[in-house]
Each structure stands twice: as C-alpha cells, then as structure tokens.
Symmetry: C2
Subunit: 224 residues, 2 copies
C-alpha cells in the first residue's frame, strides 16, 4: 500500500510526532469505527453530522436518503471532511497543562462521487457488512424501491491524516514535575451489552450469530 | 430554561420526530461527553477536529494552543459547528433498509469569542472540572506561562439541535415485515478500565479519588 501523502490539508500541525502516514493505520481507524462525523460547507458555514460508514477498498461509503439536503449537496460536489475519533482514555499528567486525551483519529478530505444505480445494491451490501456483518443473510433482500430511495456516496481515501497518541506514557525525565503526584491514564473502551429483542419478534426466536459477531468485534477493538 | 429555538440551522430535516428542543436534553448530551468534533470552514473547505469540551452555564468552552491555526481562525470569528455524538447501539430491524444506529447527538452552531486574559484561569479550571473533576486539587497550580500559551474560546449554546432516537424499539404493526426474523438492538456503551500508573510515579502512590470519580461518571452515563 502507498503511504498517505502529506499535503496542505493532511499535514498535522499540532503534535506532529503523533501523525501516522501508513494506510494500514488509516484503515484500522476506519474498520474499527461504525460512524464518522461528516462536515460540509453550507451557505458559508460548517455543518457536521454523524453518519454510518463502510470501507470498500481504498474508498469510504456513506449513505443517506435521496431527500436529504445534506447528502444532496455532497452528491453535487461539496467538499467534505470526514472525522473519526476513537477516544482511548484520559491522560492524567502531573499538571493540568500536560493532561490530555488519548485517542486515535482520522480526518479524510475529499469530494465524493455518487454510486451509479447499477452499483448501488453491491455498495449497500458492503456498507451493511461493515456495520452489521452477516446481517444481510438474516433478512429479506432489499427492494428496488428501497435502493432507489437511498443515495450512496463514495469518498476516496486519497487525502487523509491519522493521529495516534495512544502509545506509551512517556515523560521527560528532567521536566521538573513532582513524581509523588500520581500520573497515569484512565483507559476508556466501548463495550456491547446483551442484545435486546424487539417485543414484536416471535417468542423464542434466537439472537442470530450476526448480532453476536458484532458484539465480539466491539469487544475486540474497544471502539465503535 | 428557555427552549432551543428552531432556526434554519437547527431544525432537524430528517427524522424530525427525534428532535429535542429542551435545553436539559442539550446539556445532558454535553455533560456526558468529554469531546466534540469542531468544524470550521478553511479556504472554502470544511475541516473538523476532535476537541475536549467543558460547559460553563449556557456556554461551551474549548481550548487550544495559541499557536494553532485552527483555533486562531475560530478566535478571529470563523463560524463553527460543534457535534457531539453518543452512539447508544445498533438497531437491527427486519430489513437492512430500516436498520440504523441508536444515538443521541447535539450540533451547535455559533461564532466563538475569546476568553479575555483575566478570565482565562477560571475558564481553564471549569474545563478541567468537566474533563477531570477534582484533578486540579491533586496537581500544582497552572503557571502564568501555561495560561498565556493557551487560547480559551467561549461558544454560546444559543443555536443548537439535539436528536435522540435512543427510545423504545417501536415497530408499525402492519408493516408487512416477517416477525420470525429476530429484530432488536445491540446496546453499546463506554466503560473505563483500571487506571494505569505512569512508571515514573513514586512507587506506592495511590490512585487519587479524582480518577476513580471520572471512572464512576463514565460508568453512570455509558458515554464519553
């Protein structure tokens, strides 16, 4: 895989030593995320909303209603910024000034393209596999009307920055801070609870393997 | 508390029945969050980054380095969109089309103001109390140099939307879907792990109550 290029948009300006330029780091942030915060410019102001994501090779997929003004603007070429943050913990330094969050974060800059009608069903299945792996085999197929009502957008992963400060707890030896003050980290992770069955499900229907699989994935990554 | 006004920027366009206009809902999303995704327009493109947050009454506080181009632009009056998302679970419907995320989300639209020098220390303590309650009593006071190096921005919570679809699992009785397919929800929550002590801390230093308090707060809300 080629490295991510350093451009005006992607060069990390603060805490640059935490930048990662390998695609594996970017794909790991994406593949362990269920949603991203998608930002556009609307009437000269920023607006950013959470959206479910899926990765299809070197592209990200997002979907929305064909009736959504937000998605329509992106379909018409409005540049996007797509941010994924995995908060990994709180770093308690020996001063408030040096205290911080521990996180992995990816920011993608792109102009999206609209997935053409003949590729929409496959793209929606890719999204579904990312968000709810195996679920498409539990449920009925999508209908033509459902596919027609959905706008699917493809966002190239060509220009992106990844920042990861979740490494070891490094302190400079001669920083003059008091080592008798406790310093360290409070780790944070996402966990899945027990599945809740909808009351209208036929009594005795077992929780499908796909749902257990999604729970295991969250348990493995600690992120969502 | 007055309700949040419905404006061009705040009226929810999709899934409008999930919109909440009470300030209590907004403050709850904020007070159970450690960070937000802050978006601005830079050179006609959106850019959005995660930032730690604190609430001070009817304002949000964020802080960054005085050397940060991103924060400087906000200080100079660039409009912001600030998005907080609490992903509460995955909703498994009886079709892929109706499947979705369960979340609480707040989007704030504002122009920030710079906290003046004489109010900065108090504002930084408010931020610290939000992020690491009680921690300021464990550590040394901030220095004048640290305060000077920090830009603190105040974001009024005047124009904001809140969307909450994390309520009960409602299905329309006559939707024609197959009730023998399992439907339901996989809950997701954030948990804190055991605190990790920095190796340079004097051996035997106990984990402070402030860190345990932060862990309890995450446990209570399930969000971060």
């Amino acid at each position: 895989m080629t490295d991510l290029p350093l451009t005006t948009l992607t060069r990390v300006r603060r805490g640059a030593h935490h930048q990662r330029t390998d695609r594996a780091a970017l794909y790991d942030v994406i593949d362990t995320a269920l949603y991203a915060t998608l930002a556009i410019v609307r009437d000269d102001r920023p607006v950013a909303l959470p959206v479910g994501i899926g990765r299809d090779g070197d592209d990200l997929l997002v979907h929305g209603s064909t009736g959504s003004d937000f998605f329509r603007r992106i379909a018409e070429g409005a540049p996007v910024s797509l941010t994924i943050t995995h908060l990994m913990g709180l770093k308690y330094a020996r001063s408030l000034f040096d205290s911080s969050m521990r996180y992995r974060c990816a920011v993608v800059h792109a102009v999206a393209s609209v997935v053409p009608p003949e590729e929409k069903e496959a793209a929606l299945l890719t999204l579904s596999e990312h968000l709810m792996p195996g679920r498409s085999e539990d449920v009925r197929p999508m209908t033509a009307r459902e596919i027609a009502a959905t706008l699917v957008l493809r966002i190239p992963l060509a220009e992106a920055s990844v920042k990861d400060n979740a490494g070891s707890l490094v302190e400079v030896d001669d920083d003059g801070e008091d080592r008798s003050v406790w310093a360290g980290m409070l780790p944070l992770r996402v966990v899945a609870g027990d599945p809740v069955t909808s009351p209208q499900t036929v009594a005795g229907t077992p929780v499908p393997e796909s749902v257990r699989r999604a729970a295991r994935r969250v348990a493995a990554s600690g992120t969502a």
